[in-house]
Amino acid sequence: MKRLLGVALGILTAIGGFVDIGDLVTNAVVGSRFGLSLAWVVVVGVVGICLFANMSGRVAAVSGRATFEVIRERMGPRAGLANLTASFLINLMTVTAEIGGIALALQLASGVSYMLWVPFALIAVWLVIWRVKFSIMENVTGLVGLSLVVFAVALFLLKPDWGSLASQALNPSIPSGEGSGVYWYYAIALFGAAMTPYEVFFFSSGAVEERWKVKDLVQSRVNVLLGFPLGGFLSLAIAACAAVVLLPAGISVTTLSQVALPVIQAGGQLALAVLILGVVAATFGAALETTLSSGYTLAQFFGWSWGKFRRPAEAARFHVAMIVVLLAGVAVLATGVDPILVTEYSVVFSAIALPLTYLPILIVANDPQYMGKHVNGRAVNIVALIYLVIILVASVAAIPLMIATGAGA
């Protein structure tokens, strides 16, 4: 019974933890402009994140080594440092976007400008990182984040034409009035939002934090293989809500309140309250994960002591690094830059940086010195290689498309 509860808890937190500000904004933007014609990208992205989260979790459980230790060890200091720089900057962008997301959700709840909520969000995130146990942090934000199911409920209440939604999703075509360049630019953004590299840093470091052993691999696989696809369904529900309400009205999403419009229309104030709770939990959880991820990447590259299972004094540089990252994120927000804009760029840059993390993981997952008999099977490797090609194409195409389309304008 206790074991079953553990499994259920793991799945639920994986669902609630899947959606972050990147998924929220990108899915709503895409739904409001392209309907469900990019739904296939979410499916491709979810399969990809399942594959690589599983692989990095397995590497961490079997060898006890988290992603960035492996990256430095296998790529050497030069390529490793270049990788660290890129990953760290994108992570910082994501931290900024998530803290902005918390503040925007609180603005939606209170009417007080988000700028005034930013310091509050900063202190709350830091306090949790400083004092709260890893498992409690994960479970609480994941479970409360489940309130985002309100998007799926709202979709039913809106009584959409299911046939037309299904045909948009199953026979994707570029809507009239949108160029093919823009379509593919948003395809990459959506792919980057689903497969954000920080999830892999976080997942592998989290496996070390929670002291996974080989016998825990089955449970982690169940969490990932059930939780992430269900999280993907939440992403699709966000896009579908936007497709049903915002697309016909000609509203393209530029603010968080527009993301909430379909939910308000379907369920009124109560639904909005649940939505805000869900958005705060999801962005707060993701702010914790990205802040920790930047600490993890730095500490693992330089060989510092790290981890929330230690007292802060026993992982001093790790904690100093995270304080600096949080302050840097808030400094970026203090310039008045629009957090939604930061989010939109962060998901595209995530897509650009994907090969940097996935290739080393794939190599080490095949290295018997690290993995013993738990190396990748042939089927996993075939799928992983197909994904490597997709990731490389998305990564190479992203910047030209960004320039050609004026970042999807």
């Binding site: 060898s63 006890g64 080594r65 230790e69 430095r72 060890e73 050497g76 200091p77 030069r78 490793g80 440092l81 400083w130 004092r131 709260v132 146990k133 890893f134 409690i136 500490a299 693992q300 330089f302 060989g303 510092w304 002591s305 790290w306 929330k308 299972f309 007292r311 802060p312 004094a313 026993e314 001093a316 540089r317 904690h319 100093v320 010195q369 690290y370």
Partner: protein, 140 residues
């Protein structure tokens, strides 16, 4: 100036297999994580110190093969990436006697706090982290 006579390729004998543990410096040592006896990360391996004749000295016949005398670490990433050689004062040495094992990590038989290599960590702890309330408590 007389040139050394080249040795024909077929006369080069394969190196004799040395006794003891054989490690590939690049593959098994450089950039590996070093953990202390309690499993606490200390640093990474940046260079390896070898015994043997000093550079530019003739090697006497039958001299003992060089062996590892220590692992080197320290703020030397710059020269490792851009080339050149840092002043040797920059290196922090971990004597090879302290190494308890080499696997996917290099494990030491001593505590991190007893090592020079962890002075930055100690400094950050004492000057910054320990001064913030709760810094010495377990997370709850």
């Amino acid at each position: 100036m007389s040139k050394a006579k080249p040795i024909p390729a077929q006369d080069i004998k394969p190196a004799p297999r040395p006794a003891g543990l054989v490690l590939d410096a690049q593959l098994h040592l450089l950039d590996r994580q070093i953990l202390d006896v309690d499993g606490v990360p200390v640093t990474t391996v940046d260079d390896v110190e070898l015994s043997g004749p000093a550079p530019d000295e003739p090697i006497p016949e039958g001299a003992e093969a060089p062996h590892i005398t220590g692992l080197l670490t320290g703020p030397v990433l710059g020269t490792r990436i851009f080339g050149g050689r840092p002043p040797s004062s920059r290196f922090i040495r971990i004597p090879w006697d302290m190494v308890a094992g080499v696997d996917t990590v290099v494990s030491l038989g001593v505590r991190a706090n007893s090592l020079d290599a962890s002075w930055v960590e100690r400094w950050m702890r004492d000057q910054v982290i320990a001064k913030i309330p709760g810094g010495r408590h377990d997370p709850e």
